[in-house]
Subunit: 348 residues, 3 copies
């Protein structure tokens, strides 16, 4: 631990305001499973860059507002302070704060909607965590997904909002899928797959987010790359829509699954990497299926596919009982083989 | 306890038939969280009035039939008798009994459909209660919602039923939302928001239902009013559909959330009232979102939004651990502050 | 136990390869809740016959491939070997293997899709079993249903797949329902109701599957017949679509519910048979409702309705507490009656 880190940690423990800023900074980093305020700051910089590059600086404002409102709501609701300090009540609201100004038109009421939505995201986080702890899981970013779906779907019924998802409700399969076009200049697409985790379409932002990952965990950065490359190439092979491919929209859910399953929630290893590759494919399939389901409603899948796929990949672990211990497996196999062989031996 | 109540209670304990009538009467009252047969009787009177006013007396017949079938089914399935006596197996079937003749055309087969539906409502109540008790919750009126959705959605596939939901399947956002028009004569709308809890569009019925609430619990009546007024005004502000507003359709889910969260399931207080106001907004958002999701299927949201919002609002409570006790909070805060200050003191 | 059975059991215990074949054979039998490799073999014969009769022999190839891939995946994931030996990790993948070549056009990539889907079915089985064990239930065939929905819905987004569900996305209620036409020649329809459990439209296959049931459990065969006859006649009465009726599409879900609720998961009896008849109606209602929900997406209901209805029918059992014991019920009733009568006696 460098002396700068030690100094900051002393500061945040002594000064409630610095403590609050620290918890807020960890929020964006926790989206990609990192508990590090500097990573969070770097990601906020990436979001600022991306929002300005897209010509929508209000999206960055929404991110900061959502982050602060969600984190404050958690304090008001007296959540567990240890989790709060790790930024675990900031990562879903920051995404809600990014999504609302991205998908609704800019008017004063939108900001009230965003504030209510960010507060609701924290309530939903508490609610879903209570449900998922039954199976040793957490809600991941599903509170952001559910809250944002509710806000966007609800906006259809309000005269004073306009939904800007870039598409209109239609039946799935209407009009042919464009089909992916292989393009040797895929690197920016891969990087946009990383930035789309935060609903940003910018390879520069993707690069900054990768740097934020690298800063805290090399394995996380490596698996993030594996996720965006793997899912994008698979989508390209199967002939997914070219325009969506180009924006990195087939990469971002797999980025999150790959970091979670490959680097954070299992001890890395060969078997875990194989399982992660399978998980990347599963995430892509869940994503395209969910995209079809949502076509008549014209709302985006957000990070729903990552949540669903990762729950499906993690739930069986409980089923395995205690973590696979080599010695124990060998013992089991040997005794099984012995049981298989013994009767022959006895017969003889 | 008046001598009349004492006499009735003695009667219902001694005479199984009176006991059955008592359990049935408590059913409609339990829809609005009241355990009182006189409130139930008053609500039945409200339903009779409303059904006749709407020119659909069969809707009242359906309510009584559903109530009786559901309550008998619970007996046949040997449910817990304590809950049964409180009317907890009557409140969902009475709603199913109201919904089927409201949304399907009048023909003999409809009544068989209603009887099977009311029995199914009781089975679904037992099933969902078993699931929700995992998190210290009950199914509320979701068994009615799910069963009625199944009956209405299923009716599309049967030649011998016609679905009369007043709308046809279409994409959300087709045709502009009319927008609410502010109208100083809002009181009847607020009252219709109360009667719509029972799918009745009548301010007189709403008034009678408020009286039934007042009879048993002033807090419940007050929060019912808060719910219908709050949600209706919020919907008006955001520009919701004027025709639905006028019928009280943006009020009834919030009425139930407000009674549940504000008056029944928490000890009333300032913080709880603030949380209830937030809950009223949450219920409205969930309702308009669900309305969008159901637009391509042309079935109504029923009381689904109340159930979803109230579960979301109640689930975090478990997360808080033991109920917020003032002394304990103060102690926590004081010790936190001390921990924050001490190091400075020690440093000096 | 005949000596042939004894010989086979010794073989499968001693020879891992025979053990694997035995586990695979039990897979198709477990779809209809039978733990018997000969029943499984007979069902595979039925599937081969049906696939050839339909002119789609690749469907049988898909079944075998799915079965093997799913069973191997379970081994790789180190599942509980006792369950594995009973074929409990083969019954969902065999259905996924039948569904993919039935609903997607024949091309090399489809087989890769099938292999990934069969492996995913096993992962989803482990995941859902972990969830449902909370309530003393298992996932039944829902892993097949969810995985196949994901594969079919996802295929809409891929240029290189064509979905062949025989229908296109549309709004429910568009075009009048044809209505069932009563036909004294209903027996083949009933039998197709049995074969449709395996997505096969052939009365000969249905007869073979009934034989496979009869071989292992007379009660299962009887309830399978009750399921297909009951649901088909009810659908006919209510005026369901004639073409679907004829293919046995209203029978197969009820076949599974009837076997599960009537013959396998309860001790058979008069009350259980009454509950099963109710369950058959419930399954039909859930099926037509789900068909309406899926109309805008043009994917089939598969065995989803059986799973949902059977969970709803089984969940309340936990609520009943210990299994209904006659002596205990009599005691409860007698004491209740005594409590009712005593006060009168005392008053006199």
């Amino acid at each position: 631990m460098t002396s700068a880190v030690r100094g900051w940690n002393r500061l945040r423990e002594h000064n409630p305001l610095i403590g609050f800023v620290d918890a807020c900074l960890r929020g964006p980093a926790q989206v990609v499973f990192q508990n590090n305020p500097v990573s969070g700051l770097l990601i906020l910089a990436a979001l600022a860059w991306g929002a300005v590059e897209q010509g929508q600086p209000r999206v960055f404002g929404g991110a900061v507002l959502g982050l602060v409102v969600g984190t404050v709501t958690a304090l008001v609701l007296r959540v567990d302070l240890d989790s709060w300090r790790k930024g675990l009540y900031g990562f879903s609201p920051v995404l809600t704060g990014l999504a609302v100004p991205t998908f609704l038109d800019d008017r004063p009421l939108m900001w009230l909607y965003l504030v209510l939505g960010a507060a609701a995201t924290t309530v939903v986080t508490l609610a879903l965590n209570a449900v998922f702890q039954t199976w040793g899981l957490t809600a991941f970013t599903m509170p952001f997904v559910l809250t944002t779906w509710v806000l966007l779907l609800g906006a259809y019924q309000f005269d004073r909002f306009t939904v800007l998802t870039g598409t209109t409700p239609k039946f799935p399969g209407e009009g042919p899928v464009a089909g992916g076009r292989f393009d040797w200049d895929l690197v920016p697409t891969f990087l946009r797959g990383v930035s789309q985790v935060f609903l940003i379409n910018s390879w520069v932002a993707g690069l900054l987010i990768l740097a934020a990952l690298l800063l805290n965990s090399r394995a996380s950065a490596a698996f993030a790359v594996l996720g965006t490359v793997g899912a994008t190439l698979l989508a390209l092979w199967f002939g997914a829509d070219g325009a969506s491919l180009d924006k990195g929209l087939y990469g971002f859910n797999a980025v999150l699954t790959a970091i979670a399953v490959g680097a954070v929630l299992h001890r890395p290893g060969a078997l875990v990497t194989a399982y992660t590759l399978f998980g990347i494919a599963l995430t892509l399939f869940v994503q395209v299926a969910l995209a079809t389901v949502l076509t008549p409603l014209a709302v985006p899948v957000l990070t729903g596919p990552f949540n669903i796929a990762t729950w499906l990949l993690l739930l069986p672990r409980r089923h395995f009982g205690p973590l696979p211990d080599r010695a124990r497996i060998r013992e089991t196999v040997v005794s099984a083989v012995k049981r298989t062989i013994r009767p022959y031996a006895e017969e003889r």
